[in-house]
Structures are given as structure tokens and as C-alpha cells.
Symmetry: none
Subunit: 224 residues, 4 copies
């Protein structure tokens, strides 16, 4: 049923299952199958929450036999975990990319970059995951991911040459992260992006950065 052989799944490679108990597919087909499952899982979890999501629906939506689903993810929790991990990896990776080209940016330029980054991520449906209620162990993983993202954001702030210390940067990052979360939550009502709202968020993020970063005023002027 359905070929979907090659294609897809550039990101699926990153997924660390390891200790999760999930199985690594050997053949090409398996890899795209896993990608489809993760995709469907993200969707269903996002729509129904962890408790409301059913493995049956995820299987159906990814056109996977229930048995195959369980071959790759031996537990509902394992699937949620994999999704969480994938989300964390994705975020970390992209934040690192941003950091690499952040050095010359003005605060408001950075604000734009970050908001765009979140818009990108919200295309990835996995973003809904952070909302999911789960087991003890998953909560720890989520805390870990949040920490990683916060550190990533903080690193970006320090390379901006605003004289900010790592500690201060991490303090800022908490709020900044929260502001950025607004992007997928507020912007994506239904399917289309609410441009005016996005503009507002850009302004707010920019305002926040300019206001909180030492030397930011100067930098802002330089950049203009």
C-alpha cells in the first residue's frame, strides 16, 4: 500500500531513539515510514493532546499498520519521546545556525531573525508538543530541552557584542523564549498567517531587546 519510498525524511535521521526502545529501521522504506509516523504523531498529539491521541489514529493517518507502528515505537510514550527529542534537536540545530551568522546583527534585526525562525518552526507541526502533558520522565526531558533552547538563545545574545554576560543573557533568554513562543501560538490561527499580529510581535521583541541589551541603543543607531 502506497509507495512513498524515497523522498521525505531529511530530518528523521536526527531522531535519537536509543534508550527509548524505538527501533531503527534498516531499509529505506522503513525510514520514510518512520518519518510519516512522526509527522502524523505530531499532528494528532497537537490536535488531541497526549491523552486524547490514539495510536490507532496515528497509524491510520500515517497509513501504517498498527503493528508496524509498534515495531518502531513500542509505546505511545516512546513515540511522544521521539517527537520531543526531534523537536529539541531541531531547535538546537537551528539556533546554532542562527548564532553562526548573528554577530553583526542589530537588536531589531535579530528580533526579525528570531521571529522568522519561529515562523519556520511553526510550519513544523511538532511545536505543539511542548504543551503535552506526560509522564515524569518526559517532563524531565522537556525541562532539558527548554534549558538547551534557553542556552542557545543566550549564546546568540552574547555574540551580539553588547557587553552582556552569559548569566545576564540567560536571564533575558527566559523572557525572550516566552515572547517567541507567541509566534506559533498567535500567528497560526487556522492555516494563514496573521501578518499584522506578526508585525506586533516583531515590534515587541525588538523593543524588548533594544531595551534590555546594554549598548543596544548605540548598536541600533549604528545599524540604522
Amino acid at each position: 500500500m502506497a509507495s512513498q519510498k524515497s523522498s521525505a525524511s531529511t530530518t528523521a535521521t536526527v531522531v535519537t531513539r536509543a534508550a527509548t526502545g524505538a527501533v531503527a529501521p534498516k531499509r529505506e522504506r522503513g525510514r520514510s515510514r518512520v518519518a510519516a509516523i512522526l509527522e502524523a504523531g505530531a499532528e494528532v498529539f497537537a490536535e488531541k493532546g497526549y491523552g486524547g491521541a490514539t495510536m490507532t489514529e496515528i497509524a491510520a493517518r500515517s497509513k501504517t499498520a498498527i503493528g508496524s507502528l509498534y515495531r518502531f515505537f513500542p509505546t505511545k510514550e516512546a513515540l511522544a519521546d521521539a517527537l520531543l527529542t526531534r523537536y529539541g534537536d531541531l531547535m538546537t540545530e537551528r539556533l546554532a545556525a542562527i548564532e553562526a551568522r548573528a554577530s553583526g546583527l542589530s537588536p531589531s534585526q535579530l528580533a526579525d531573525v528570531l521571529v522568522d525562525f519561529m515562523l519556520d518552526m511553526s510550519a513544523d507541526r511538532a511545536i505543539a508538543l511542548p504543551l503535552i502533558e506526560v509522564t515524569q520522565e518526559a517532563e524531565e526531558k522537556r525541562a532539558h530541552i527548554r534549558g538547551a533552547i534557553r542556552r542557545g538563545l543566550a549564546s546568540i545574545l552574547t555574540v551580539l557584542d553588547t557587553g552582556i554576560t552569559q548569566a545576564e543573557a540567560e536571564g533575558l533568554a527566559v523572557m525572550l523564549l516566552y515572547l517567541l513562543k507567541a509566534v506559533p501560538q498567535l500567528a497560526c490561527n487556522g492555516s494563514e498567517v496573521d501578518e499584522p499580529l506578526i508585525a506586533r510581535i516583531r515590534a515587541l521583541v525588538s523593543l524588548y531587546l533594544v531595551n534590555e541589551l546594554p549598548h543596544a541603543q548605540r548598536l541600533a543607531n549604528d545599524a540604522s
Copy 2:
């Protein structure tokens, strides 16, 4: 998680309280029973999400017999709905109260008032509810509540005499509401309040209001 053995019970006819299906208890005992159920329901929904919560646990946590629980809330959805309604009512009511004494406040004073208000509300655990996944109909109710709150916030902004129009105020309110939501989410890690973080949020809300409200600068000076 699913509907079982539904067959439009004969008792459901007795049901009142809007279209919710929740029964209004006449005796004192009944009222406190309902309060306990709502309390427990808020807790459990917050902890486990809608799908993960079980009527049995809610009954146990509120020391109510499962049969009695179903007397007051003939459906899990009815209970969630009642909780949502209560939350909406509470918010509207308190926002009205704030509006009543808002006229003379400076933007930063208003920021403080609003943040305090959210801290108050987060004591009410029902706040977690807005996050939960539910049926179509519940989504509409949630949208409705969000709208009401937004309008309430907007009203407060207009009485501030900053020359802002209702339409502009509603635009601001969207972001403002989002910022305020940070309070329960970020402030209440575990049981104690993270004061420095609260201070940060106060500053940000204040910054946002001062920056976005016309004449705000002047007002801010006046108030100082």
C-alpha cells in the same frame, strides 16, 4: 478516552445550567460538593490534560461517589465546559472590577495591577484549562472566552484616558493578554513564586504599555 455506551439517558432531561448539562444543586451540601468537584476537576485536568484525566480520579480527589459526580455533570465534557465557563466568568468579573478602578492609573501602575491580577488567578488552578484539547464546541467556547477577556482588557485600556480608540485597544489587548499569560506559566514552577522573573514580566508589561499607549509618556511623568 472515547464515548461509550451513550444512549441519551432519561435523567439528562432534568439538566439545566445553559446547554452545558450541569445540574444546579439546590441544597447547601450540593453546592459545596459541586465546588469540590470543580476544584478537583481543575486540578486533574491541569495535571493530566483533558484526555488523560479520568472521571474516577476526579471523583476520588473530590471525595465524591462517581454516581454523584455524574448527577451534577452528566458528561466529562460537561465538567470541562463548566470549568471553562467558571474561568470565563471569573476573568470577566475581575477585569470589570479592575476597569472600575483603573481610570487614574499610570501605565506602569496598570502593569502592576494586571500582573498581580494574573498572580491571583494562577492561584486558581483552572487556568491550566485554556490549554486543553477538547471538542469542536468547546473550542468555540474558548474562543468566546478569549474574546471576552480581550474586550475586557481593551476596555481597561480605553478608560486610561490615553486617547486610544477601542479598535486600537483591542489590537493591543491581544499581545497584552499573551504577555500576561506568562505570569502563571513562568511564575509558578512548583509551588513558590519566582520573584525575579515576576519583576522581569512587570517591567516588560510596563515597557509595552508605555511604548504603545499614545500620551503614555506624559501620563507616566504625571504619575511619577
Copy 3:
């Protein structure tokens, strides 16, 4: 469905569920329901073994809804465990009864009593249980039950006034127990008892006791 209210279940009272996780039924109906489940469980486990038995079949055979079955025995293992416990209790109890009236018996009379006792027990279908493969924990419980039965048998041997020590008696009991197990296994092919075979077993048990018990010869003569 089906009344089976009072009646039955004189033995069901003995069943210790406690740590098992099984629930104690409060009403009369529940008690007979539990008895029916244990009955069916013993049958099905005996026929198909632990792995081959299905909760669904046990539910069907005891005319219990699957949900009710799981209310009383939250796990297949819990049911097996309860059955095992019941079996152990029954054996211990009856062995104690035999011990109480054993003092004056000759070895061959004792042999008859013990064989009759096993014939009685084999009416109870639970006897098949000792054959069941199960989890680690269940193996321990089985060892424990075996030990209790062995000690019970040993006690009976010591009250016979044959000058045997407790230690020697326990040694004998191992073989004796094994010999007695032959009764349900060999005697009950299908539904009717194979009398000649029973006679053989009686003879063998008697032979064994007379031969192994010191002073037995004298006692045997006395009794004749």
C-alpha cells in the same frame, strides 16, 4: 444477568487478595461473582496453561463482563496469583484438619486418608494450577506453598507417634507429596475415577509409609 445470588463460595472467603491488587467485593453479588471467576479461571488455566488462557475466555465462561473481571483482578497475573493463594490456603487448612485426627492412625490408614484427601482436592479444579508457568514472583509463591504443604505433611507424620523427628519427616514429605500428586494426575482421566489405579496408589503410599516410618511395622500390627 443470571442471579446466582446467595449459595456457592464458602471457600472464596479465604482468598487473600491484599497485596495482589485485587479488589474485595462489598456486596453479596460481588462475592459470588468472584467465586465464579475463580472457578472459570481454574478451569481455563488448567486446560490451556497460563499463557494459553485468555482473560476474555475466563470472562465469558464465568458470564462476567470483561470490565468486571478486571475490577476484581486487575491483571491476568493477579488472577493466577489469587488462584494459587486459594489453593495454598485450601491445602494448608485441610492438612491441618487431617493432622487433628491423625494421632491414632496406622500408616496404611493414613495412606488411605491422604489419598482420599487428594481425591477430594482434585474435585477442586484448582489443582491444575501447580503446573502453570508464570512470572518470577509467582514461582516464589509456589515454592512457598509447596513448603507449607510439605511442612503440613511432615507434621502429620510426627503426630503418628512413630518416633520420627521433624527433620526426617520433612525428608519423607517431599517424596510423599510427590506420590500424592499422582492422585489427581493419574486418577482423573476424563471425568470418572480409575478405581484400580487408585487402589495401586493406595498400596504404594501405604508401602512407602510402612517401610519408611520407624516402628511402623509394630504400629501396623497393632492396628490390624
Copy 4:
């Protein structure tokens, strides 16, 4: 534990080896593969019972791909059946060997020989198999094997020149077989042999034979 997706495969046609369905491997590699599977099968069936054993585990334990396992034994039942057959063949064969050199033995010598024989067999783990629950058809095969063994034992008893008839011998054999079964069951707690217990069994078997065989006393004296 149940039959799934059965549909009289086309490959099943190739099957030979009695009605079992097991395929006779032609190459050397195939033969050792089959041996490994039988070995693993005996182990797993013994540990978990028929219902609890999984083809996957048997495959893993014999380091065989699941597909290959199914090439040799097209059904779980076929594997159990083959194991049963092997066990029957082994027993019959060895009993015949014992019969060949039994003619001059005294009853107690025979007892020793038989107990040693069972100790040997218990090294073969397949002995656990007779205990397992299976299909109707397998039960018949088991009855058949039991019969063969009983007749084998009876034959041995008749060559002993004790004047016993074949009919009487078969009667004795039932109990004798049962006594002998004690050897693997009681002797092999864990991995080491419980010597004192073995001695007890030897004594009991000897006692039984001496007592039941006509002329046995004389023979016993002759042999001493």
C-alpha cells in the same frame, strides 16, 4: 496466542515429515539449524509453556531468522509437534536399549538403571514438553507417546523373568512411569542434582519393584 491471518499458504505444500508439516533439511547447515531450533524451542516451551512461548524468542535464541524458522516449521504447532515426536522417539529408542540388556538384572539394579535413564533424559530439556497444553491433535500424540513408553517399560519388566504377564506388567508400568517422572521434576532444582533425593527415589522405585514383581524376592536374593 491464537491463529492469525491463516490462509493455507502455497509453501505449505512442500512440507513433508509425517503430517507434522516440518521440512526435512537436505544440507548439513540445515540440519544443525533445525537442531538449534529444536533445542531453543524445547528451552522456551519449558520455560514459558506453549502459550507463553513466542516464535520470535525461539528464533532469537537459536540465532535463526524468523523467516528461516518458518521454513523448517511452518507453524508453532508444527514445532511443538516435532519436539514431541523427537521426545517420543528418543524415549522409545532408549527404552529398547535398556530392554536389550535388562534380562539378568535384579529389581533393584533395574531401579537404578531406570533412574539413571531418567537423569540422562532430564539433561534433555525436552522433557518439560509433556506438561504443556496444546491442541486436541497434540493431546492424542501425547497419549500415543505415553502409551509407547508404557509398553516399553512393560516389555522391560517381562524380560526380567519374574513370571509376570504382559498385562500385569502394563499395569505396573503406569505407576512406575509416574514414579520415574519424579526424577527430572524433583532432582533438577536449578542446575545441580539433589543427590539425597535421588537416593530416596532409587529406594522407592526399588521397593516398588521388589514388592510388586512375583519371584522378586528370590531374584533379589539371587542377585545379592
